[in-house]
């Protein structure tokens, strides 16, 4: 009977105060949208950056006199290191094509001959993709006979390293600020909602009602608002994902992403509503006690 009563009261309250409740729902909804899209962007940014880092190419230039056959031999030697993920020999012609692609000029047009050397492209295994090992690798490989120079964008590697960190840290900072702001706003809404019913709370106290009995309707109300806010946010996020997938052909989301969105967004919403209101109600119900 107690629980039934509490539940009935929760629903009554929600209905009777649908305006502030709606605002609460919207607050939670908007906050969740920002929160979760921020999370997603961070994750995908991190992944992209990581991918970029993983795919870093080391260019081994052979001496001008060497042929592709020499390159095959050197490749075999490099493979023996056991730190290499992928290896590819690039002929003079392929190099010329790459040159044209990169600089927009045909090397034959400029120079009437192809001065570019044979090159070996190396990709390291991710665990070795680290500035220290790269420096060692360069030194070792340059010592090999037939190798002219080893190039890698070490500046880029370090920059990527620090950029990834920066993104994660600033993402986290924004997240903290947002969580703080959201907490504040929801607390405030719930606090005022309790405040509006202080007479009722004072009366229940004077009848000897326990803390849980008094607080539960508000806590459940918060949880319901979280539920609705989460549903709203999930719907919004899914629409946004569909829109993005439609607009950019390169981006596709799997069905499981959509499912995860529903589940995560809604349960995060409920949890937020529940705990924030539990904290706010406790704090505030105490205050009413002190006042009367």
């Amino acid at each position: 009977m107690k629980l039934r009563f509490v539940l009935r009261q929760t629903l009554n309250n929600l209905w009777r105060e649908r305006t502030p409740a709606t605002a609460s729902v919207l607050t939670i909804g908007i906050a969740l949208v920002i929160l979760i899209s921020l999370f997603e962007v961070s994750i995908s940014l991190y992944r992209n950056l990581n991918d970029l880092k993983q795919n870093m190419v080391i260019e081994v230039y052979l001496e001008a006199s060497r042929t592709e056959n020499d390159a095959a031999g050197i490749s075999a030697q490099l493979s023996d290191y056991g730190t290499i993920e992928r290896i590819r020999v690039i002929s003079k012609e392929a190099a010329a094509e790459i040159f044209e692609k990169e600089f927009g000029e045909n090397i034959y047009d400029i120079l009437k001959e192809n001065p570019l050397p044979v090159m070996i492209e190396v990709r390291l295994q991710s665990e070795y993709n680290h500035p220290d090992y790269l420096a060692l690798f360069k030194k070792q490989v340059e010592a090999l006979p037939g190798v002219d120079e080893v190039h890698y964008r070490h500046v880029l590697v370090e920059k990527l390293e620090s950029l990834t960190q920066a993104v994660l840290i600033s993402g986290l900072a924004v997240l903290i600020v947002l969580v703080f702001a959201m907490n504040l706003l929801i607390r405030n809404t719930i606090k005022l909602s309790v405040y509006a019913r202080r007479d009722q709370i004072a009366i229940m106290k004077i009848l000897g009602a326990g803390n849980l009995f008094i607080r539960l309707p508000y806590i459940l109300e918060g949880a319901f608002e979280g539920l609705f806010g989460g549903m709203m946010a999930a719907a919004g996020l899914i629409l946004a994902h569909k829109f993005i997938a439609d607009s950019f052909e390169a981006i596709r989301f799997s069905l499981s992403v959509y499912k995860m969105l529903w589940i995560v967004t809604i349960s995060v919403g409920i949890l937020i509503g529940f705990f924030v209101s539990a904290a706010a109600v406790g704090h505030f119900v105490q205050k009413i006690y002190a006042k009367k």
Partner: protein
Amino acid sequence: MQGSTRDRKPNTCDYAMIRFSQVTVNYGYVPGALKDINLQLHKGDFTLLLGPTGSGKSTLLRLIYMDILPSAGLVTVDRWNSARISPRQINLLRRNIGVVFQDFRLIENMTVFDNVALPLVIEGYRRKYIRQVTQALLDEVNMLAAADQPASTLSLGEKQRVAIARAMAKDPLIVIADEPTGNLDREASQNVLNLLERFNRHGTSILMATHDYELIKETPYRRIYMENGEIRQPDSSINVGKERIIMMNRDV
């Protein structure tokens, strides 16, 4: 009454159920709302609390259900005392006291039924039992027809009757009634008094503050006169003379 359908706490000995020892209450603005009160109420007593406006009657009653704690002195109610009582124990205490508040304190947006049922719900009774008791009580105070109206739609006299029903709901150890007939006419007032008397005969102690000298003038109950935060000669004589009442009210 529904007394028969419910467990009566055994009506044991005649000990002092409520005891005030040198109790003083200072409100922020009003020091000495009560001054050095000593008082004992026994189990099963029917006691009347009389005195002019602002003399401290409501304050004295609030001490009993520990809505306020004394600034000095000690209030003992049954097995609880004001010096060391936890919030949880205060809740327990309140569940054993039925209070008719001077300003009713009904929950305006709840129905009449829910208001009366609330103490039983808090106590955790079963649904069927709650319905049965609540309906019996509403019938008793003649408010059964309004059971499903929100309390906000009642006239003041109707609210008062609902408030009385709520106070009776838990078949409490003691009923505290602060001016329970203030908004009622002569006959309705008499009905309330009769109701309280019936409860009293079943063993419930009653403490009732009232201005209605007409109503109580022929009752045989103990009277406590308050004035200016003090008890004036606790008096258990049966009759109260007209001149007596006028003396008490000269402040107004």
